[in-house]
Assembly symmetry: C2
Amino acid sequence: MPVTPGADAAGRTAIIAGNGLLPLKVAESLEKQGRAPFLVPIRGEADPALYRYDHAEISVVEFRKLIGSMKAASVRNVILAGGVRSRPHFSDLKLDGPTLAAIPRMIGALGRGDDALLRAFISLIEAYGFRVVGAHEIVPDLLAPPAARLTNRKPDKHDEHNIAIAREAARMIGVLDVGQGTVAVGGRVVALEGAEGTDAMLERVAQLRNAGRIPPKGGVLVKCAKPTQDERADLPAIGLSTVENAARAGLAGIAVEAGRTFILGFGETVAAANDKGIFIETFGSTDS
Amino acid sequence: MPVTPGADAAGRTAIIAGNGLLPLKVAESLEKQGRAPFLVPIRGEADPALYRYDHAEISVVEFRKLIGSMKAASVRNVILAGGVRSRPHFSDLKLDGPTLAAIPRMIGALGRGDDALLRAFISLIEAYGFRVVGAHEIVPDLLAPPAARLTNRKPDKHDEHNIAIAREAARMIGVLDVGQGTVAVGGRVVALEGAEGTDAMLERVAQLRNAGRIPPKGGVLVKCAKPTQDERADLPAIGLSTVENAARAGLAGIAVEAGRTFILGFGETVAAANDKGIFIETFGSTDS
């Protein structure tokens, strides 16, 4: 746990890092800007590559250590980046002062879904004097650009129809605070993302395809933010693995919400899509 | 293909049989009523036990054989029972007269989802002079009884909350014509049924549970009919395997819509639920 406080004492930024590529991309971006980040990798979730930065690893239940290590590192700003698959088990909670104080807020939120949990977590961190900022404020270049076609392949009219119905379904499951992704094939929504995540949903679509339970080709993945989403946490993301899994599921392409979805590893992601012959398209969050 | 026409020439009833237990239950019920059914098992979908009845097997694309064999067996009424996982591939279609005539209607429907496809199929069969009736009209005793608790275990207030949010999600995915089932665990909807079906969704919940990605116990499966559902086809169903899979996923119970959900093998299904310690409860389609 090499903590070197004071590197940017006036406004050092911590990244509480869940799974996926986003935390690393945010860390690299801060580094390029000359602002050495402080990492708080969540055990069992965060990418090992993050441990080369100043860091203090925590488990998802170690709220006291989280607060203490960020104070010791003179952190002012906090970014939440990456998903957290595990949910705290109350039997694992270490009942120190700050954790005890956090429990009522977190219990209320656990009963209301991901979005509420994140909001509660954000307000709790802010109650300790930190400022929670969105990853997109630090790395706006990672956001999907407005209404753009990024690949050689373009959606045809069947694809456009699939995008339209998958968007409608994604909007509804977003209202329910269940998930951010849907797949439509042959004019029908065939998969809705729940707690399993996008990659597992695409694997399911591949299985349905192999079993002959959906038409043999085509279809789209749509991802968009929840209408009520706090943009400081959990914006949807796609990347190289999304493209590879979409291709394996036989999809024609991917459509994501512009300005509210991260495209991680933009160059390699677009190159892989071109290589696999699938499209990536973005749509405005207000057009419909 | 032993076809003995005339057993009930005035109003013989055919069962076009997809997968699951429902076709067999309907056949047994007709038999008990002294009305020998004519079976049309769909190849690769129907239960082999159905082949002991007068029958003519078809593939999902053999519309001509379907119409011809039902006419030869003096069928008047037609029941659609059981799900059909495979979707016709146009390359497989035998382009005889009736199939050619059916194509425009079916293509329109394929673009609109399960419900539209079933409606198109029903109106097509009726155009050939048959009367399509609901399985529930023949076997009303298989329907879930109104607002009842069928098992020893009763839902507690956490279960009631999970039922409420899972019902809301099930209603929304029904409006989208995507699926009929949802699972809520710990006050959060974690799985939405798409083309994979209920058993595969429950398997997914079991995996999420084993991976520690949802709370370690509790939760409910909810199934209800789509708001726009044609009740002559594809009413939701639960049975012994649903109970076993729900128990394997660690759920506390199952709640289904009264009067619009089949409980197949009622006695053994309820007995299994009592054995596994899970509840089965029905809710009214109008209360909310």
